[in-house]
Assembly symmetry: C2
Homo-oligomer: 405 residues x 2
C-alpha cells in the first residue's frame, strides 16, 4: 500500500550525506576550523529595509485592526503586482500579476510542478543538475529504474553539460514532454547566451514540449547577452513555466519565499496549465505568510534593491576570489561569472567524492561532489561563493597550499 517509487531512490539526499561526513570529521577533529563552501546557503544577514518591513508586518499581525488571516492562495496582489512590474514588464516581458504564483520557495515549486503533468510523460534534464527535478519525478513514478553503475534512470533523458560541449545542452534525439533548464546552472555556474535560450524556446514550441525554467540565480548574471527571464525570448509564453527564488538574491534561504510564473497562453491537451497550477495551489497550499510576503515586497523597494545589489556584489567578489585562487593553484575552472557557483575539474582521474574527502581531510574545506548532481558531474566539484569573504580567502589559501591529488 505504500508508494514503492520512494524505495527506488538511491541512498539519501546529497546534502544529508555531506552533513553526515562533515559531522563525523568534526567529531574526530574537534580543533579543526571547517570552512563550508558546500551547500548553497547564504551567510549575509537580511538587508535592513527588509528587516524593517518584517517588523512592521509583525506589528500589523498583533493589532486587530490590521491583522491578516488566510492569505490569498496565489499570493497577495501587492507582491504579485510588484513582481510582474519589476521582474518582467520592466524587462519587456509580457507577464501579468495574475500569472505570478507566490509560494514558500523554489524548492517546493520545482518539486511540485510535475504533479500537473501525466504520469507517463518523458522528462529531460541537464546533467549535472539540481537533484530535486529528477527525485520528485522518481517519486511520481516517471523515471523507470535506476542503474547504479551509470547513475542514470532508464526513462530520463539526460542532456550532458560538460567541458566537451562548453556546458551547452544539445537538443535530445528523443523529444521530451517536459524539459528542466536551470540557467544560470546549479551546480556548474555556467549558462548559455540568450540566442541559445531562444533556440530552446523554438524547439519546445515546435515539438509541443514544456520548459520548466529555473531562474533562481538570475540576479548573478553579469554578461549582457544572457537572459534574466525566459520570457525575454519570443514565444516563451506558449511553452515555458519560470520558477524564481528570493533565496539567493535577497538571502531568504531561511525566510522562505519564491514564485512560479505560468502564462495563460500555455496550454497542453487543450487545457491551460495556469488553471491547473491554481487548482493545485488552492487545494494543497495555503499561501505564504503575510509577514514574509511583505519582506518580498521590500526586496523591490529602491532601498531594498540597493542593499541586495551590495550583497550580490559581495558574493561575486567571493566567486572571483575562488576562481582566481583555483586557477593559481592549477585547477581547471568554470562558472563564477554569471552565477555564485564555481565548478572545477578534479585533478587527474580523481572522482568527485575522492576530491570531497581529500578537501575535507587535508584542508578542512567542504564543497559538493559533482557526481551528486548527475552522472556527467563525475570528475567535477562545486564550490559556492556564499561564505564570508574572510573564510573564502582562508579556504582558497588552504587549497593553494595543500596538495590534494
Amino acid at each position: 500500500m505504500i508508494n514503492t517509487n520512494y524505495q527506488k531512490l538511491p541512498g539519501s539526499y546529497l546534502f544529508s550525506t555531506i552533513a553526515k561526513k562533515v559531522k563525523e570529521y568534526q567529531g574526530q577533529h574537534p580543533d579543526k576550523e571547517i570552512i563550508r563552501l558546500g551547500i548553497g546557503d547564504v551567510t549575509q544577514p537580511i538587508a535592513p529595509s527588509i528587516i524593517a518591513a518584517m517588523h512592521q508586518a509583525v506589528d500589523e499581525m498583533g493589532d486587530a485592526a490590521t491583522f491578516r488571516g488566510y492569505a490569498p492562495d496565489l499570493g497577495y496582489d501587492f507582491l504579485r503586482e510588484t513582481i510582474a512590474k519589476q521582474d518582467y514588464q520592466a524587462r519587456g516581458c509580457q507577464i501579468a500579476a495574475d500569472e505570478i504564483f507566490v509560494s514558500d520557495g523554489a524548492k517546493s515549486d520545482s518539486g511540485n510542478i510535475q504533479e500537473i503533468f501525466a504520469e507517463n510523460i518523458r522528462i529531460a534534464v541537464c546533467d549535472p543538475v539540481y537533484p530535486v527535478y529528477v527525485d520528485s519525478n522518481v517519486m511520481a513514478g516517471r523515471c523507470g529504474t535506476y542503474d547504479e553503475k551509470t547513475g542514470m534512470w532508464s526513462d530520463v533523458i539526460y542532456m550532458p553539460c560538460t567541458r566537451e560541449n562548453q556546458f551547452v545542452p544539445a537538443f535530445p534525439k528523443e523529444v521530451p514532454d517536459l524539459i528542466y533548464l536551470c540557467l544560470p546552472n546549479n551546480p556548474s555556474g555556467t549558462t548559455i547566451p540568450k540566442s541559445a535560450l531562444q533556440d530552446w524556446v523554438d524547439y519546445a514550441n515546435r515539438n509541443g514540449a514544456v520548459i520548466i525554467y529555473d531562474a533562481a540565480y538570475e540576479a548573478y548574471i553579469t554578461e549582457s547577452n544572457v537572459a534574466h527571464s525566459i520570457y525575454e525570448c519570443e514565444g516563451a509564453r506558449t511553452c515555458a513555466i519560470e520558477i524564481r527564488s528570493f533565496s539567493k538574491n535577497a538571502g531568504f534561504t531561511g525566510v522562505r519565499l519564491g514564485f512560479t510564473v505560468v502564462p495563460k497562453d500555455l496550454k497542453r491537451d487543450g487545457v491551460a496549465l495556469h488553471g491547473m497550477w491554481a487548482r493545485r495551489h488552492g487545494t494543497k497550499f495555503n499561501g505564504a505568510p503575510y509577514i514574509i510576503q511583505r519582506a518580498g515586497e521590500a526586496v523591490y523597494s529602491t532601498e531594498g534593491q540597493k542593499e541586495i545589489k551590495e550583497q550580490i556584489a559581495y558574493y561575486m567578489r567571493n566567486a572571483a576570489t575562488i576562481k582566481k585562487g583555483l586557477l593559481d593553484a592549477g585547477y581547471e575552472v568554470y562558472g563564477g561569472v554569471n552565477a555564485p557557483y564555481i565548478w572545477l575539474k578534479t585533478p587527474g582521474q580523481m572522482t568527485s567524492w575522492a576530491f570531497f574527502d581529500a578537501l575535507l581531510e587535508k584542508a578542512a574545506v567542504v564543497g559538493t561532489p559533482g557526481s551528486g548532481f548527475g552522472p556527467s558531474g563525475e570528475g567535477y566539484f562545486r564550490l559556492t561563493a556564499f561564505g564570508s569573504y574572510e573564510n573564502t580567502q582562508k579556504a582558497l589559501e588552504r587549497i593553494r597550499t595543500t596538495p590534494l591529488s
Copy 2:
C-alpha cells in the same frame, strides 16, 4: 501530457465559489454590512508574547552573528522538542521530538500525505469532511469517477456522519487502506469519545489500515472524555499519523505553521512511513521560516499558553452565542461544544446552497453550505465562531429576526 485527474474535479474549490457569490452580492448591495461566519478564518490578532518572539527572530535575521539560513527540513529542534514535550509527553503520549515534522501548515500536510501511499489504495473519509482529503486524492488518480447526481466518487469509501448516527462514523463494510478522521470534525463541530476513537485504532491495527488523524481543532475540546491526540489511544503508534495546526489555537491562519506526527513504529509493506515522509520533506519542502518557527515556540511559553487560552475562550463564547441564538430561532443545532463550528439542519427541505443564498440575501450573513463538504452534508449548514463577538451577536440577531425559509 497533462494530469487528466485534475479535469475530473467538479467546479472550483468551495471557498472560491462562496467568495465569488459574496463579492457579487456586495457589488449589488454596496451599503449592506456583510457578516462573515463562513470560512474558518480567525479574526483575533496574534497574541503579544508571540508577536514579541517574532520581533526578536526578525532582529536575529538582520544580524550576521545570529542570521539563520536554511532551516532543517523537518523543523528546528527547539520547536520539535517543545511540541513533543507539551503536546504529547505531558498527556502521556509516547511521541519523540524526531517524530514531529514541522511544516507550513496542516492544509499542505493533509494534501501531501497521500503521496507516500500507492496509487491503487482505497481511502475512506467521513462525510461531510474538509474537502482537501478527497480533492488531493482525486488529483493523484485514486478516486475513480465523479457522479454529479450523488456528489460521490466511485472509488472513495464514504462514512456518513449525520444526525441519524449522532455523527459517529461506522466501520465501513469494505476495509480501506487509508482512513481520514478529522476530530473534532470540520465542518460539523461534532466529535466522538475517546473510547470510540480507541475502537478506530483497534480496527486499523486489526485490518492493516492507516489513520490520518487531523486534530486541527483539539484546542477547542471541553469535554474530558474526548482525546486531544490519537496517541492517547493504545496502539496508535502502529497505525496513525496525526496532523496538527497552529491556525485555530493561536490564530496562525496567515502566519502558516503546522506539523505532522509520524511514529517510527508505523510500518507498511515492511517500510517505515517515517522515513518516507522525511524523504518527501527533504525533497519537496525546505523547512518553515525561522521567524515563524520561533512564533510557534512562543505558543508553548507560559505567557503564550495563557494568551491563546483567552482567545479560545473568546471564540467559544461566540460558539455558545451562535448555538443559543439558533436554538432560540427554532433551528436544530449540533457542534459548538468541542469545536468552533456550529452545524445546523436547514429548515424543511431547503438545500444547503438555498440556505446559503437566503442567509446572504435576507440577513447579509455568510456561512458555508454543508453540501460543500460532501453529499451527507446536504441539508446542513456551517457557521463558525471565529468572528468578533459583536459581529457574532449582530449576525444572530439578524438570523433570529429574519425568516429564511
